[in-house]
């Protein structure tokens, strides 16, 4: 092959590539083709391996590794009792809130349903440049792009791409992920965005006069139109005035442990449903006649497990938790 011919081939190939690229930009056809074939095949390959590994680890932890189970059971029973008592004490507040809402003509927050999904893989291949995980639920199960993904501790991220049976989730610590948040106590608004592995996400556009408290929780504000309001996202690690920007520099660690994720929940708006299943669960809990102020003093499991001021043995998330 002469040099001239090779050059002509290269130019032709470049034109074909640019044509394909722009056509895909306009139609998204090649993206859909890759999602519906590549992701489907890889998901089908990874699923049996995930079954085997989770089966082995379940068998080990349930039937073999039973050291300290009795002590752990006693501790959990005590914590359950305390949590039930705490919930019972909040019953009256909740009913009062409902009455006041009705009185003030506040609209009811939209109900959401949660669908469980299993993580079958993390970043796979060179094209997985963003921090992500692969779930065993696709758009046929409701995992549409933009669907919020959470664990019981807090927000994990949102669905980025999906095919009928599998989906890819963009994690909250990725620099491309943005979620509208508000602080739980001082109520300052902001937008949280990741900074990469091992670094705490940044909270952008925090006003300079906002009284940011170190250690307070950030919850979803619902202003992005994707996440329901009130889901815990992160805790504030540091806040200081910026030299270059009119906003404060605020960093916060995610509450959900993003390394070693196994199961997550996909949140979907429950159209036409009046009752939230979580509320029913709270209402169904039996009232404890022996509930005393002393039994209510231990912090909620969520805060004790992850909050730096919780005073629990695992005092606050380590830098690895953001990974």
């Amino acid at each position: 092959m002469t040099l001239k011919r090779a050059f002509a081939l290269l130019v032709l190939g470049l034109f074909v590539y640019l044509g394909l690229y722009t056509w895909n930009e306009r139609t998204g056809s090649l993206n859909s083709l890759a999602e519906n074939t590549g992701l489907e095949i890889v998901g089908a390959i990874l699923l049996p391996a995930e079954w085997v590994t989770s089966g082995i680890s379940d068998t080990w932890s349930r039937y073999v590794d039973l050291v300290n189970v009795r002590e752990e059971r006693d501790i959990l029973a005590e914590r359950l009792e305390n949590a039930t008592a705490a919930i019972n004490s909040l019953h009256e507040d909740r009913h009062e809130l409902l009455r006041l809402r009705e009185l003030m003509h506040f609209s009811e927050p939209k109900d959401w349903t949660a669908i469980g999904a299993r993580v079958i893989g993390t970043r796979i291949g060179p094209q997985a440049a963003l921090n992500s995980v692969i779930l065993n639920k696709g758009f046929s199960d409701g995992a549409l792009p933009g669907t919020p993904v959470v664990t019981r501790l807090g927000v994990v991220g949102q669905v980025l791409r999906s095919n009928p049976n599998f989906s890819t989730v963009l994690l909250v610590n990725d620099p491309s992920c943005r979620i509208a948040v508000i602080s739980q106590e001082t109520r300052f608004p902001g937008i949280i965005g990741g900074q990469g592995l091992g670094k705490p996400p940044m909270v952008y556009y925090v006003p300079p006069n906002a009284q940011v408290k170190i250690g307070e929780f950030l919850i979803t504000s619902g202003l992005d139109g994707l996440f329901p309001k009130g889901i815990p996202v992160a805790w504030v690690e540091d806040a200081r005035p910026s030299d270059t920007s009119p906003f404060q520099t605020v960093t916060a660690w995610p509450l959900a442990s993003l390394s070693g994720l196994e199961e997550v929940l996909l949140l979907q708006p429950a159209a036409g449903r009046k009752e939230n299943p979580f509320n029913r669960f709270v209402d169904d809990l039996p009232l404890l006649p022996e509930a005393t102020p002393q039994s209510l003093t231990p912090a909620l499991p969520l805060s004790s497990a992850t909050h730096p001021a919780g005073g629990a043995p695992q005092a606050g998330p380590s830098p690895e938790q953001g990974e």
């Binding site: 090649l30 590549g38 291949g125 060179p126 440049a129 963003l130 620099p175 592995l197």
Partner: protein, 157 residues
């Protein structure tokens, strides 16, 4: 029979490649298959292997379509360009191809992400590109050896 054995070999290769990629994030193990297919000079087999690798990588990735296609096309160019200068078995040839492919991995991933205003972790991408370049020679040798064993069995049959 030979066709069935060949298909089975490639299926096993892709299965192993996907599992390896799920263990070592950000590394392209299917590239070794493309290199093996290039060495064997069977156009139909090469086309299938490249198509399967592109669809798998693009499908499971988080970037918009384009970088895997560009990467494999340039892998072919680098391979043929290198072979025009060196023997295919030459250590320098293998080293040069590996280094260039590691560099291309960094450039194309960064370029496609930047085109779509996606923020990538440059340090991590750099580390992965270096690992990619370092892993190609031993994996290439291993796959070449296994493929050779399979070929021997084919000839005996």
């Amino acid at each position: 029979m030979r066709l069935a054995r060949n298909i089975a070999w490639w299926l096993c290769f892709f299965l192993a490649g996907v599992y390896a990629q799920s263990i070592l994030s950000g590394i392209d193990f299917l590239l070794i298959g493309v290199i093996i297919a290039l060495q064997e000079r069977r156009p139909v087999q090469l086309a299938w292997v490249i198509l399967a690798a592109i669809l798998l990588q693009e499908g499971v990735g988080t970037l918009p379509f384009g970088s895997a296609l560009l990467f494999y096309v340039f892998a072919i160019i680098v391979f043929y360009g290198g072979r025009a200068l060196f023997e295919a078995e030459n250590f320098f040839f293998i080293f040069l191809v590996s280094a260039l492919l590691g560099l291309l991995h960094f450039i194309f991933t960064f370029a496609i992400a930047d085109l779509h205003s996606l923020h990538t972790d440059i340090t991590r991408l750099g580390v992965e590109s270096v690992i990619q370049a370092l892993l190609i020679p031993p994996l290439w040798r291993l796959a070449y050896f296994l493929r050779g064993k399979e070929k021997e069995n084919e000839n005996r049959a």
